[in-house]
Amino acid sequence: MATTTTTTTATTTTTMKGGKVTGLGEVTGVAEANGVATPHVLAVDDSSVDRALIAGVLRSSKYRVTAVDSGKKALELLDLEPNVNMIITDYCMPEMTGYDLLKKVKESSELREIPVAIMSSEKVKAREDSCMKEGAVAFLKKPVQRNEVWSLCHRWLR
């Protein structure tokens, strides 16, 4: 099986490189298998633990994952890397919340088609409603479970 592994460099503080947490700011995955591009998921969370966890879940499903620690870095990456197929972001982050990031993505003509899922440690109805109204495809309670993420990705990444 022909595969291509690419390195996505982002100014992150947590990495998963070939399955190993290195702290160097890169996430790799198999970019292609048999000439078919692997879906690329951008994970956004200011918690290094939660970034590692969501990256681990996504990698176990063989997706290519890039993890960044802020909404600002997510937008910088989206500017550089056009082929992001899904964004999974924490809600509660300093400076730019996941909701703010969601709004920015949905306001952009280049980015608005990318499905965005929100993760939150608190399932507050008002928070969930506002995210879904803004166009989020899911609102997941943290810690996220494998089966929830798999269902989500299976639905939105074909």
Binding site: T14, G19, V21, S47, G56, S60, S121
Partner: protein, 153 residues
């Protein structure tokens, strides 16, 4: 024989009488994400948690030591610690964080200081528990056995 003995010890530390609820089903989720491509996933995520918790505990100590305590700042740090402890299944740490947040809501300095002491202790205890588990894992693997994956029930 040796493998069975080690695996029994593993179960005892993880979830038996000795377990005392240190780790919940979320830890099992981490174990399920560990495979031949990511053989050290659990220990790596746990290491991140202890780096993070040390930083947060130091921040909490500093913040609570101020002349005028900013309880919103304290709460923000506790919220982070609660989140990351929940993510690795450190349920006793998480539970103390819940109580800690209540003290923050009440601007209860004495309560917060008590909770800080308690959460430090719980982090120390779960670290010891996990260190023992990881040592046992290595012994089980060296003896040719497989690391037990705990049931989520």
């Amino acid at each position: 024989m040796e493998v069975s003995r080690l695996q029994r010890r593993f179960f005892k530390i993880f979830g038996g009488v000795d377990g005392k609820g240190f780790l919940d089903a979320q830890f099992t989720e981490l174990q399920h994400l560990q495979d031949e491509n990511n053989p050290n996933f659990v220990s790596e995520v746990v290491s991140l948690f202890f780096e993070d918790s040390e930083r947060l505990l130091n921040e909490l100590s500093r913040t609570l030591d101020q002349q005028i305590v900013d309880f919103r700042k304290v709460d923000a740090h506790v919220h982070q610690l609660k989140g990351s402890s929940a993510s690795i299944g450190a349920q006793r740490v998480k539970n103390v964080c819940l109580a800690f947040r209540s003290c923050c809501d009440e601007n209860n300095l004495e309560g917060c200081l008590g909770c800080l002491q308690q959460v430090r202790q719980e982090c120390y205890l779960v670290k010891n528990k996990l260190d023992a588990l990881f040592r046992l894992e290595q012994q089980i693997l060296a003896a040719g056995g497989a690391v037990p994956i705990m049931s989520k029930d």
